[in-house]
């Protein structure tokens, strides 16, 4: 059965204060070599057994576009992995 690992992040140019503050805090701790830091949301979906890879890919894109991300401010990436039921 297929599993989708989806990561939703803000688009470039959208203020992400959380990422900024984490980066600052790491800098204060002495980690000065961090050029960029992003935060996002991880969503994992396990699909029913009867869906093949291409159906799962189409469905994941539909969910990503329709509800899991807001395309005005966010983008998403995903990978599909086959797991044992």
């Amino acid at each position: 059965m297929w599993q989708a690992k989806i990561v939703v992040t803000y688009k470039a140019g959208i203020l992400n204060p959380e990422a900024k503050i984490i980066q600052q805090a790491l800098g204060n701790l002495g980690y000065q070599k961090i050029a960029q830091l992003e935060t996002g949301r991880y969503i994992q979906i396990q699909y029913d057994n009867d869906l093949d890879r291409s159906q799962v890919e189409t469905l994941t894109r539909e969910l990503g576009d329709k509800i899991l991300s807001n395309p005005v401010i966010q983008k998403y990436d995903f990978e599909l992995v086959e797991v044992q039921p």
């Binding site: 959208i14 203020l15 959380e18 503050i21 949301r41 509800i67 899991l68 005005v72 401010i73």
Partner: protein
């Protein structure tokens, strides 16, 4: 005139809104459960503040798929006035009835305080009893109230006179100082292109009686009662 106040699981300003319309305004008002699919009897619909579905995923993202929302969208497309307050504004943006999005406040803190607002335009059924440039005081209470839209959308909102309210200082100056949450152009509320949908982050229902420190919000509800 019949007002409908939509109740989602997690709405918490529905009672305040209902109270203001019934007791302060003296108009007819009904709660509308989010599973309702017939809204024909209503003249005005209000999406109240709160934390619908716990704000999970994104504020308003889940409520936007409630059964009632298809009807709210149809009602708005037919020209019916729809007012979204705070979480209601977030739901209107997620549903595409208004452009842009609300992201977490620039300071990463939940803000609960009084703010000053400048009336951007009186050209709407919601703002017609105000004066353009009038300075109002209303409370805000939100974590994700930082209005974002791309530059083209912002320009369109300006060109089409669709900015209903902007955060300002006590003098009415629209500046960074008066901007509590980092919103682009200090935007606190906007209209759709037909001016029958208004979304705003401040709470007019909590500023509708002077004994509760401000009655500046009541005029939004009063404006809706006025005959064209």
């Amino acid at each position: 005139m019949k007002f409908g106040v939509v109740v989602f699981p997690g709405s918490n300003c529905d009672h305040d809104t209902y109270y203001v319309i019934k007791k302060v305004l003296g108009a007819e008002v009904f709660y509308v459960w989010h599973k309702e699919t017939s809204l024909r009897i209503f003249d005005v619909l209000i999406l109240p503040g709160g934390f619908s579905y716990g704000d999970y995923l994104r504020a308003g993202a889940v409520a936007r798929f409630s059964p009632v929302m298809n009807e709210v969208v149809a009602f708005a497309r037919n020209g019916g006035p729809v007012l979204g307050i705070c979480n209601g504004f977030q739901i209107l943006l997620e549903s595409g009835l208004l452009p842009g999005a609300l992201i977490p406040n620039a300071g990463m803190r939940f803000l609960c305080c009084s703010v000053h607002l400048k009336v951007g335009t009186t050209d709407s059924v919601f703002t017609r009893t105000y004066q353009t440039g009038q300075v109002l005081r209303m409370p805000i209470a939100h974590y994700a109230g930082n209005y974002y839209a791309d530059d083209d959308t912002l320009k369109r909102l300006q060109d089409e006179d669709r900015i209903a309210f902007q955060y300002c200082d006590v003098e009415g100056e629209v500046s960074d100082k008066g901007n509590p949450n980092g919103s682009k152009l200090n935007i606190a509320g906007i209209f759709n292109e037909y001016r029958n949908v208004l979304g705003l982050m401040p709470h007019p229902e909590r500023a509708s009686e002077s004994i509760l420190s401000s009655a500046d919000g009541l005029q939004i509800f009063k404006s809706l009662l006025e005959k064209n």
